[in-house]
């Protein structure tokens, strides 16, 4: 069977599976809709968290990105895993003990103020929308490459599917589809990795093959460093970013991960505090499987690629080369008209390769069977859809629960709130789909900055809310507002050219916009602590609540209210 038939088959089966799960796990109360009834097992929650967390970017783009960044790619590897340590140690157990439905819920109650709640709602919506638009686009791109439909048709199919299980099943539907999606995406990611690792190094385990040696006896990484030197690139194992920037980006991503509402909310779905702790551990295990394999794939793909194209005749290029050339993701311009490909650093370079194709093209480059190629397409879709659904739920809950129920119509019945939650989900799907079809130029540029925004706004407010009894609403609100505005300002100035723009030479302390979340977070902490010490203590009952969340006993189910 050809790739196309395989793709239709595998993608069709996985989609039928998602819809089946959605029908089976319909939500019948707001508690089902927001936190899956609070009865998810820690292992299943870990898997769902991993799928929720690993987006199209992790699955499709990250390995490719790293293969062009070399050592510097570590910012993503450490940044997107280290945050789980913070989450497990500093946030998840306490938020689970607090036991409400959303992050703005915690902020609103802990800081006894609807102003704080509203600021948190706005932050949650800004963060989630910058993130979700990229996911819908990812769905469209995978569809267009593998099913040969226009990108927009792909976005519509993705919307219809997410619509079905997010609107119908809420958190309950999403959780169990995410478990299935995790299995599919990890299988799809690992199979080609095993094959390629074995082909290159004779070792099936990619993490071992990464440090293994090639057929000629030299170590893979030494070979790669050598090839890089020869072609004039920086060595693969040493970076080109400044140390301060690597530090700032890594920290911003870690802290941002711990502050992302769609990740935090997953820990409300387990029954006990104990489960929240271990669940974060399982989530990281499932994530680490992909995150330790990705850099190995990067090195394999980089080696394969250089070996294939280096000083080779253009006419001898294999079929995958021209396949991807027609999509415009590989371009070759024979500048010196010698018919050979010069792939080097600097002006003589004749070959431009889009980093996104490294994972998608990898099975073809390594000449793997057609079903593996189709599997990768299904995996990419699973990754994009699971993340999109989780984000849409955060947006819908922010509107129906934190805005309408908590602020506008407090006497809403559970049934009515559930209707609002579904309306919110529908609206969010439509907006996300709109951005997927008409991607505003800034989306691609700002998706990575969603982490900076989360780091600059939520993280300090939640941490201080748990660990600093003296923290009051004045401090937290001031900190969140200053933090997110500062981050937005820096992002607009240096990324989008607003406020007079600026070049990397003008970066504050040499920190790029991607890493600026670290600085904005520190400013948030500073402002919060200063303001809180100059304003009145929080009321007795709030101090009592902070005391209570420190001890696990009596967590029970996520409380009704």
């Amino acid at each position: 069977m050809d790739v196309q038939t395989w793709t239709f088959l595998i993608v069709g089966v996985t989609f039928a599976l998602y819809i089946g799960i959605a029908v089976w796990s319909r939500a019948s109360s707001t508690k089902d809709f927001y936190v899956a009834g609070g009865g998810v097992s820690p292992l299943a929650n870990g898997m769902a968290t991993a799928a929720d967390w690993m987006s199209a970017a992790s699955f499709i783009s990250m390995a490719g990105l790293i293969s062009f960044m070399g050592y510097d790619g570590a910012v993503y590897l450490m940044g997107w895993t280290g945050g789980y340590v913070l989450l497990a140690l500093l946030l998840a157990p306490y938020l689970r003990k607090f036991g409400k439905f959303t992050v703005p819920d915690f902020i609103g109650d802990r800081y006894y103020s609807n102003v704080a709640r509203s600021v948190a709602v706005i932050c949650a919506i800004i963060v989630s929308f910058t993130y979700v638009a990229g996911q819908m686009r990812g769905v469209g791109v995978v569809f267009s490459r593998f099913l040969e439909v226009p990108v927009n048709t792909g976005v519509y199919i993705g919307m219809a599917l997410v619509f079905f299980y997010a609107v119908l099943g809420g958190m309950k539907g999403i959780t169990y589809t995410q478990v299935a999606q995790y299995c599919i995406l990890i299988f799809a990611f690992m199979v080609p990795a095993f094959f390629i690792s074995f082909q290159l190094t004779g070792n099936f385990i990619p993490q071992m093959g990464f440090g293994g040696s090639l057929a000629d006896g030299t170590f893979l990484l030494d070979k790669l460093d050598g090839l890089h030197r020869e072609l004039g690139f920086a060595e693969y194992t040493s970076g080109s970013k400044s140390m301060i920037d690597v530090f700032a980006i890594t920290l911003a991503l870690m802290v941002g991960t711990a502050g992302l509402p769609h990740v935090i909310v997953r820990f409300f779905t387990v029954p006990r505090v104990k489960d929240a702790r271990i669940s974060a551990g399982w989530a990281l295990v499932f994530i680490a499987i992909l995150y330790t394999t990705a850099p190995a794939i990067s090195a394999f793909a980089r080696t394969n690629l250089i070996e294939t194209v280096r000083d080779a005749d253009y006419s001898t290029m294999p079929e995958w080369f021209s396949n991807w050339e027609t999509t415009g993701l590989i371009t070759f311009e024979d500048k010196n008209a010698d018919g050979k490909i010069q792939y080097v650093a600097g002006d003589e370079n004749e070959l431009v390769i889009d980093r996104d194709i490294m994972v998608l093209a990898n099975p073809e480059i390594a000449q793997l069977p057609n079903w593996v190629v189709a599997l990768v397409a299904a995996g990419g879709l699973a990754a994009a859809l699971s993340t999109a659904a989780g984000l849409l739920l955060v947006i819908s809950a922010s509107v129906s629960h934190d805005l309408i129920k908590k602020q506008i119509k407090p006497n809403l019945s559970d049934k009515e709130e559930l209707i609002w939650a579904r309306v919110g989900a529908i609206a969010a799907v439509l907006v996300a789909g709109y951005f997927g079809i008409n991607p505003p130029g800034f989306v691609a540029a700002v998706v990575a900055l969603a982490f900076g925004l989360a780091a600059a706004s939520f993280f300090p407010a939640i941490i201080l809310g748990i660990f600093d009894k003296r923290m009051n609403k004045e401090g937290a609100v001031a900190g969140m507002i200053v933090g997110i505005l500062l981050m937005l300002f820096y992002m607009i100035k240096y990324k989008l050219g607003g406020f007079g723009g600026g070049t990397p030479e003008d970066w504050w302390f040499g920190v790029s916009p991607e890493g600026f979340g670290t600085i904005a977070m520190m400013v948030n902490f500073l402002v919060s602590l200063t303001v809180s010490r100059m304003t009145p203590k929080p009321p007795e009952d709030v101090q009592e609540m902070v005391e209570q969340i420190r001890y696990p006993r009596g967590a029970g189910a996520a409380s009704e209210h």
């Binding site: 790293i66 050592y71 790619g73 570590a74 590897l77 450490m78 895993t81 280290g82 789980y84 340590v85 497990a88 140690l89 500093l90 157990p93 993490q207 990464f210 440090g211 293994g212 040696s213 170590f219 893979l220 990484l221 030494d222 194992t237 040493s238 140390m243 690597v246 530090f247 890594t250 920290l251 006990r272 505090v273 104990k274 702790r277 271990i278 974060a280 551990g281 990281l284 295990v285 680490a288 995150y291 330790t292 850099p295 005391e547 420190r550 001890y551 696990p552 006993r553 009596g554 967590a555």
Partner: protein, 85 residues
């Protein structure tokens, strides 16, 4: 539970956090970033050590840290009788 006992529980918790987060910082920012270049002179099979910490090792340590934390806290909860039934 008495106030003193609760304070003791919280102090122990904070001490665990401090130690675990120091390790967290040391492997990722220490070994993976600040001292990566020095560590790169040491080899671990085909890896330079600093590079290995940055792209592999720190992630393994993160996983271990969480499970150690879970074990420590479950033990602490039982010791102070604040665990969930």
């Amino acid at each position: 539970m008495s106030d003193n006992k609760m304070k003791a529980y919280w102090r122990r918790n904070l001490r665990y956090l401090l130690v675990l987060l120091l390790i967290w910082f040391a492997v990722s920012y220490g070994a993976g970033i600040f001292f990566a270049e020095q560590l790169n002179t040491i080899r671990l099979g085909g890896f330079k050590l600093g590079f290995w910490f940055a792209q592999q090792g720190s992630i393994y340590v993160f996983v271990v840290l969480i499970f150690v934390y879970v074990w420590l806290m479950n033990r602490l909860d039982r010791e102070f009788d604040v665990d969930e039934k």
